[in-house]
Each structure stands twice: as C-alpha cells, then as structure tokens.
C-alpha cells in the first residue's frame, strides 16, 4: 500500500457529508438541545465542547441515529463509499468491549453480521490491529488490557467497518493523562496517514485544540452553538504546549467559563 493510492481512495470516500438541520431535543420537559445547525465536512474532525450536561453526548447519539431528535433532522449528503460496512460508527467513552470475547473476537463481532468471513475477515482484523499497534494482543481478553489498550481495541473495531464518519464520545476521558497523550498521538497519526471524517465530543479543551479542525462550543443546557472556532494548523504539526494552541484553548475557555460556572451552580440547585 503506497501512500498516493491511499489518498486517492480517500478522496472518493469523502463523498459523504453530514448536515444537522435545526436539531432540538427534549428529555421529558427538559430541553437539552436547541436549534443546532451544523455541517460536518468530509475528511475533517469536528470537535464539540461544552460545559457538563450541555447535551454534547446526546447530540452525538442523535447524529448516529441512536436517538431520535424531538425536532429537526440529521441529513446524510451523498452516498457512503460502497466499501463502508457501517457508515456511522461510534467510539464510546467506556470502550463497550464484550468482556467474554478476545480482542480479535470483539472485532469479528462487528464483521460477522455483515457477511464478512474467512480470509476476508482475517485480512481486515490483521490490518486494523496493525494500524492500532495491537497485533501482539489478538488473543487477549479485555480484562487483561489496560484502559488505553481497551480504547485502541475499540478504535480498531471502529476502523474494521470502514466508517464514513467516526462518532467519538469522549474517547479519551476514561484514561489517565499520560495514556491520553499517547493515544492522542496515535489518533493524529491515524488521521494523517488516512484522513477520516469525525465528530469528536470532549470536555477537554486541550484535546479539542489538538485534534479538531473546527471546534463547536455549546452553551449550557439547553445546548446551543455559541461559536465555531476553526483551527487551520495541520494536525501533524500541533504539539502539546504549542503557544498558538494554548492561545486558542484560552479563547475557548473564556467562551465557556461563565457557562461552565452557571452549569455547575445549576446542578447544585437541582
């Protein structure tokens, strides 16, 4: 696999985009999201940040069809590439690995149902395990793996179905800060080698400025879009502690601070 070929196939993959049209959502009487309009361009990572309880995870569940929006709709524009088995694929905060299946079993789980078996399945599993540096852990059970390894398995599983859009729900939040840093590098690496489209929900602004091409700031509940910050610096050139990224992060924090404070108070009232 030489790089030019990969980038060529990926240009084709980029046919599919997502558009959120006036999304609003209620849990019972409580309005959690209000009037969200957002484009998710192909080949870019869109980060969603906001104070706790602002409905960022709900928004992600709406995007992938795990929940129905009370109003508005999520539009898929263009066809998902034919190779894509599961166009909208999640990576969950708590990994969601089946503890009774080995690493390879957890990946084969999502292929079995789509009629991929035998040598094809074998090839896909080897490929995604190599890409996530897990080849030596094929037969391990989740209980034997560290948190970082578990999330790698979950990412490998997501890659196995060749998603058109990755929906990542705080994928690094359950990990300690060092593991998070390592995995962040791996994610950037994965994207630079083979750009993918992603919606990346996080409460960690540092993560957002490292991996986001654009960062959507939500207000506290009911979540509305406060601002969309674009960061033009290429992902692979971003480093931990870059002055311009720090600047962006500070800007985001300024946008969010009062909202976060209010959200915190709101919880205490409840």
């Amino acid at each position: 696999m030489d790089p030019p070929l990969i980038s060529f196939t990926n240009i084709c993959d980029f046919a599919m985009e997502l558009r959120l049209e006036n999304i609003g959502h209620y849990y019972g009487d409580m309005e959690v999201l209000q009037g969200i309009d957002l484009d998710i361009p192909a080949g870019k990572i869109v980060c969603v940040v906001g104070p706790s309880g602002c409905g960022k995870s709900t928004l992600l569940r709406l995007v992938g069809g795990l929940e129905k929006p009370t109003s508005g709709r999520v539009v898929q524009m263009g066809q998902a590439p034919s190779a894509s088995i599961n166009p909208l694929t999640y990576v969950f905060q708590d990994f969601a690995l089946l503890p009774w299946r080995t690493v390879e079993g957890n990946i084969s789980l999502v292929l079995e149902d789509h009629g991929i078996k035998g040598a094809d399945m074998e090839a896909v599993i080897s490929d995604v395990l190599a890409r996530t540096k897990l080849s030596d852990f094929r037969k391990a059970l989740p209980k034997q793996l560290s948190g970082g390894m578990k999330q790698r398995v979950a990412i490998a599983r997501a890659l196995a179905v060749k998603p058109a859009v990755m929906l990542m729900d705080e994928p690094l939040s359950a990990l300690d800060s060092q593991t998070r840093e390592l995995l962040m590098d791996d994610l950037v690496d994965l994207w630079t080698r083979e750009p993918f489209t992603a919606v990346y929900v996080t409460h960690n602004l540092g993560e957002a400025v490292r991996i986001g091409h654009s960062i959507v700031v939500l207000s506290r509940r009911p979540g509305r879009i406060c601002e969309v910050v674009e960061i033009n610096k290429p992902l692979e050139q971003r480093q931990l502690g870059d002055a311009d990224l720090e600047q962006q992060q500070k800007h985001l924090w300024n946008l969010m601070r009062d909202e976060a404070k209010a959200a915190d108070m709101e919880l205490m009232d409840a």
Binding site: L66, N86, A96, L98, D113
Partner: protein, 269 residues
C-alpha cells in the same frame, strides 16, 4: 526542633488496613467435617451421646457399605438421579427461556411477572396430588413436580440477569447495525450467563428437596423412598445414610455448576 523531638519519640505507624477479604481454604472444610464426625463418634462410644440421640458415624458408614455391597445403593440412586436430571433440566430450560422472554419483551414482562410472583410462594409439594391426577402416579408426576419447583426460581434469576446486562454493550451492538438476533445471542445471553448460573445453584438445590418429597409420596425405589422407610422404622443409621447421600448429591451438583462457571465465565475479573 522537629529533629530533636522525632529522635526521642519514634514509633512505627500501626497497621490498620486489611481484612474483609475472605478466601476459601479447601482443607478447612474437610477438617471441620472430620472434627465434627470424630467428635460424635467419640461421644457415642463414651456413652455421652446415646444411640437414641444420634447414630454412631461408624455404624452409618457400615450401613452404607452394606447398602453398596447389596447393590441396593444403585437401585435407589439411579432412579433418583434420572428423576432429578429430567425434572431439573425441563424446569431450568423452561425457566431460562421464559426468563429471557421477560427480559426482552414488554408484553411478556407485563403478563408473566405477576404469574411467576403468584406461583413462586406456593409450596410445590402441596400440588403433588394435582400432578398425580394430571400425570399419573408414575415418573411423569415426579418430573412435573421437580420441573415446576425448579422453574420459578430460574425464571426470576434469568430475567434479573437479562435486566442486568450492560445497556452500553447493547447500544454498541446497535451502533454497529448488528441484527436483533445477533444482539440477543452474542451480547444479551453471554452477559446474562453469570446471573443465570448462580440462579441455577439455588434452583438445583430446590430440585433435590422436591425429589425427596416426590419420592416420599409413592415410589418403590429412590433416595426419598429409602429415607421414608428408614424413618418410619426409626432406623437412624439408614436415615443418616440417606441424608448423607443427599448432601453429597448437593455438593456434587454445586461442584458441577462451579466447573461450568469456570469454563464459561473465564472472562470475568
């Protein structure tokens, strides 16, 4: 200041953690049994315990050996084991099936939970005459009694186990567009397995109790018949042989489930 004080007055910080982590030590169980039985043996031999209060353990053993040599042991044990196996397997399978239905479908849940709650507290032995009328005096009524008694606790354990399956795993399955059938067989059932197996421990103990009850009410051979006969003659040695066999049966069933758990639930932490 601190230096001078700490030089004269030093002590090790006392350990106050630990405990609250019981571990099973195999040999302790055997030692307790041996001490208890040899105590009774000693008591009966010295006359501290009269033979009317408790039979001498060595006599019980002798009676057991006699039973074995005469071939009657197998004559009693085999029908009992087959009744237990047939009844418990029918009851447990039906229980697991219904429990899973309750765990998966709202309609099954709404309609069956009240029924299960209503039949759970009925002493199944009280229904034996009914089963005799329905299924005849032969084996079928015994199977039915054991199956019915095993069924209710299994249902409760099974639907509880399905309820406890991690919902995030099910959402994960849906997010990868797995079929409903795959989600049930690959996520719900394996996830419910620990709860179902621990429920079976209880169900099978109840099955043994009901086995004896069924055999006491009309069986020529079987551990229950053997115990009933010994009891009506106040033959304490034989009574204790029968009771001991039941205990061993219980320990055996529990050990088998333990083995299955070790095999199927290796993935647990």
């Amino acid at each position: 200041m601190l230096d001078s004080a700490s030089k004269d007055d030093q002590r090790t910080v006392e350990f106050r953690g630990g405990g609250f982590a019981p571990q099973s030590k195999r040999w302790v169980g055997f030692v307790v049994f041996i001490v208890l039985i040899s105590g009774i043996e000693l008591g009966t031999r010295t006359g501290f315990i009269t033979s009317l209060m408790l039979p001498r353990p060595s006599d019980v053993l002798a009676t057991f050996v006699e039973l074995w040599k005469s071939g009657l042991l197998w004559k009693h044990l085999i029908p009992s084991l087959s009744r237990l196996a047939v009844g418990a397997v029918i009851g447990a399978s039906a229980g697991i099936g219904v429990g899973i239905l309750i765990g998966l479908f709202s309609l099954a849940r709404a309609s069956l939970i009240p029924i299960v709650a209503a039949i759970f507290p009925i002493p199944k032995i009280a229904l034996l005459p009914l089963f005799v009328i329905w299924f005849g005096i032969d084996e079928a009524s015994k199977y039915a009694l054991i199956a019915f008694g095993t069924f209710t606790p299994t249902v409760v354990a099974a639907y509880g186990a399905v309820d406890n399956v991690d919902r995030t795993l099910i959402r994960m399955g849906q997010s990868f567009s797995l079929s409903w059938f795959s989600i049930v067989t690959k996520i719900v059932l394996p996830g419910a397995m620990p709860g179902i197996l621990s429920g079976l421990r209880v169900s099978f103990a109840i099955a043994i109790i009901l086995l004896v009850a069924a055999e006491m009410l009309g069986a020529e051979y079987g551990i229950g018949a053997y115990i009933l006969e010994a009891g009506s003659l106040y033959d304490l040695e034989r009574l204790f042989v029968g009771v001991t066999i039941l205990s061993i049966l219980g320990v055996g069933v529990s050990a088998v489930i333990g083995l299955i758990e070790n095999r199927l639930l290796k993935w647990r932490i």
